[in-house]
């Protein structure tokens, strides 16, 4: 009847609710009438149950009161809820109690008017006007308090259950994402094109410049060791990642010669962590899509700058805007950049961790790393 904590009753539920409270009033009417008659005489009260006309008229009185209550408090509380939704809970509860006490008393008075307009046989509770008003007002207020408290408890329980479920879900998602990151790191190992091209370069060097050939074999071994070490999805320092890019570029420069110009950060780098194998795929992408198609080649530079949010690491390269594929093509699922982006997303918690800037003859990919990034451990199994 009181509808605490819920909105207005949907219109198609009003008729069934009215029917319910009509039955409730009819059944409990004689008991209420007997209760109030107790104020004057116990024998009169008991007589109500053995007099058919008294049972009938007290049931009718019960129905009138029940329906007036339902309309004033039941429907009223629903609309009150909507009106009060922006107020703090403490105020809402005070308003509820006052409203229900007043509404119950008013419902009571209206019910009296209705009952008094009925034939005199129905006037069983009429002599007890003030008692009925007081009792009903108190009942309304107490019920408002009790039911309000109960509903608050129920909402709290539901809320904490939802929170728990969400937490469980988040933990599961993180675990899945972490294991995906692990397998992605595995996928992002040395690109076969690069591998075969390097073997080709070494093969060409063997006769003319055996020392250079041996150096290159050593570097290739270093690269492989690094990628194998990165497969457990752990973060590495920026310094390690830049050194890896330096080794990688020294091999690419043997292939591209003057067509590839390189600018890497020198000296001591900030102690920031970055997922392994993030920078090199960006540089490789820059060479493949930006510089390789240019007859005269171009330059690729890696730079690190302090920013408000942490450190901004950028890979910038020469590119002909007509030659450059669409970004969507570069981020095709399963391709290196998509892979890098997914791992950075997980590591930084940013929805779009890779920002792209482009001009007529250059492209720049940047990622911002905070000083203390969120770090998710991969599950032990694998």
């Amino acid at each position: 009847m009181f509808r605490f904590g819920r909105g207005p009753l949907p219109s198609r539920e009003i008729l069934p609710a009215l029917a319910k409270w009509l039955v409730f009033g009819a059944v409990t009417g004689p008991f209420w009438s007997a209760f109030f008659t107790l104020f004057t005489s116990v024998s009169d009260a008991l007589r109500i149950f053995v007099t058919p006309s008294a049972i009938f008229w007290s049931s009718v009185t019960g129905v009138v009161f029940s329906l007036c209550f339902f309309i004033a408090c039941g429907l009223g509380n629903g609309y009150l809820r909507v009106l009060m939704k922006d107020y703090p809970p403490a105020i809402i509860r005070v308003v509820y109690v006052i409203y229900n006490a007043v509404a119950a008393s008013l419902a009571c008075a209206v019910s009296f008017l209705i009952v008094m307009s009925l034939p005199t046989g129905a006037h069983i509770v009429v002599p007890f006007f003030w008692q009925v008003v007081a009792v009903d007002g108190v009942i309304g207020a107490v019920l408002a308090l009790v039911i309000g408290a109960f509903i608050r408890l129920k909402l709290q329980v539901e809320e904490s259950q939802t929170k728990l479920r969400e937490q469980e879900l988040a933990v599961r998602e993180l675990a899945i994402a972490a294991s995906q990151a692990q397998s992605r790191a595995l996928q992002s190992q040395i690109n076969p094109h690069f591998f075969f091209n390097t073997l080709n370069t070494i093969s060409a060097l063997v006769e003319d410049d055996p020392i250079a050939a041996r150096q290159m074999i050593g570097r290739l071994a270093d690269l492989f060791r690094y990628t194998l070490g990165c497969t457990n999805a752990d973060a590495v320092t920026l310094g390690e990642e830049v050194q890896f890019v330096r080794d990688y570029l020294s091999i690419e420069r043997a292939r591209f010669r003057k067509r590839l110009r390189v600018d890497l950060p020198e000296g001591v780098l900030p102690d920031v962590r970055i997922p392994g194998l993030v920078l090199q795929p960006l540089v490789e992408n820059a060479i493949k899509h930006g510089i390789a198609p240019l007859i005269d080649g171009g330059s690729v530079s890696v730079s690190i700058a302090r920013s408000a949010a942490g450190f901004r690491v950028s890979v910038r390269n020469t590119a002909d805007e007509h030659e450059l594929p669409e970004l969507a093509a570069m981020f095709r699922p399963g391709h290196a950049l998509d892979n890098v982006r997914a791992r950075l997303r997980l590591f930084t918690g940013q929805a779009e961790p890779l920002s792209v800037d482009r001009g007529a003859d250059w492209v720049e990919f940047s990622v911002t790393l905070s000083d203390a990034p969120r770090h998710v451990e991969a599950p032990a199994a694998a």
């Binding site: 370069t201 060097l205 003319d208 010669r257």
Partner: protein
């Protein structure tokens, strides 16, 4: 009679390795080396080699694009470090290819087959090579043209039309007029899959650039082009043009 050979690879180390391997073969004469797709086209047309060892991944035009622009390709042996799709296509069509790093016995085997193809008995090899190139890189997107002495790459989406003047063929862009060293019929074959159509004996238009089609005299039509020019369409070409434009 020696086999005149052109080496095409953007990496000088790769060319050095190839050259060294070929020096063992007494009937091979290396007539030149090209370091990108433009040089390759230029040298193939100038030197007319019997054999081209053609790298696939290159700046300018890649190996497939080079083949697409050749009117009468010589014997081609593709060279690639890693292109499993291309390799599958070569295998399926009995096209010769070499994998990098090039192994001497593989080179010897490829050369043995090349010797049987030279001199070319028919256009069969050229046709097959062009077909594969077409399959691998789709319709031609760019052509090589001449601005003065320089060869430049012209993206086809910038070309408005192609015309003949004094037996020379020119590609016309919004602000340029470039010499193309091909006959108009050769160009028609190359450009048709890329959305160009012959509108008269001496002219091709880029269908993307056609803005309007206006009826003219005695069954001929006129096209208005994106740059404001109006060109005549011969009676026999009008039907094809209307079909291509989706009218009729």
């Amino acid at each position: 009679m020696k086999i005149r050979t052109l080496l095409v690879d953007d990496e000088d180390l790769a060319r050095i390795a190839l050259r060294r391997a070929l020096e063992q073969e007494h009937d091979i004469e290396i007539v030149g080396e090209a370091a990108n797709g433009i040089e390759a086209i230029e040298m193939i047309e100038e030197l007319r080699p019997d054999l081209v060892l053609l790298d696939i991944e290159m700046p300018g035009f890649d190996g497939f694009e080079v083949v697409q622009q050749l009117t009468d390709p010589p014997v081609i042996v593709f060279v690639t470090a890693y292109d499993e799709y291309a390799v599958r296509a070569f295998e399926a069509n009995a096209i010769d290819y070499l994998l990098k790093p090039v192994q001497p016995e593989r080179l010897a085997r490829a050369l043995a087959r090349v010797r049987q193809r030279i001199p070319p008995r028919s256009g069969e090899h050229g046709g097959k090579v062009k077909e594969i190139a077409r399959e691998r890189s789709g319709p031609v997107r760019r052509i090589a043209a001449r601005r003065g002495k320089r060869i430049v790459i012209v993206p086809l989406r910038e070309v408005i039309r192609v015309e003949i003047e004094d037996k020379l063929v020119f590609a016309i862009t919004a602000n340029d007029r470039l010499l193309v060293e091909k006959t108009i019929s050769e160009l028609e074959t190359v450009l048709e899959p890329s959305g160009f159509l012959r509108i008269s004996r001496g002219e091709l238009v880029n269908l993307e650039m056609v803005k309007e089609l206006v009826p003219w005299f005695s069954g001929t039509w006129r096209v208005k082009l994106a740059n404001g020019e109006e060109r005549d369409v011969s009676r026999e070409r009008a039907r094809q043009l209307k079909e291509a434009m989706g009218v009729e």
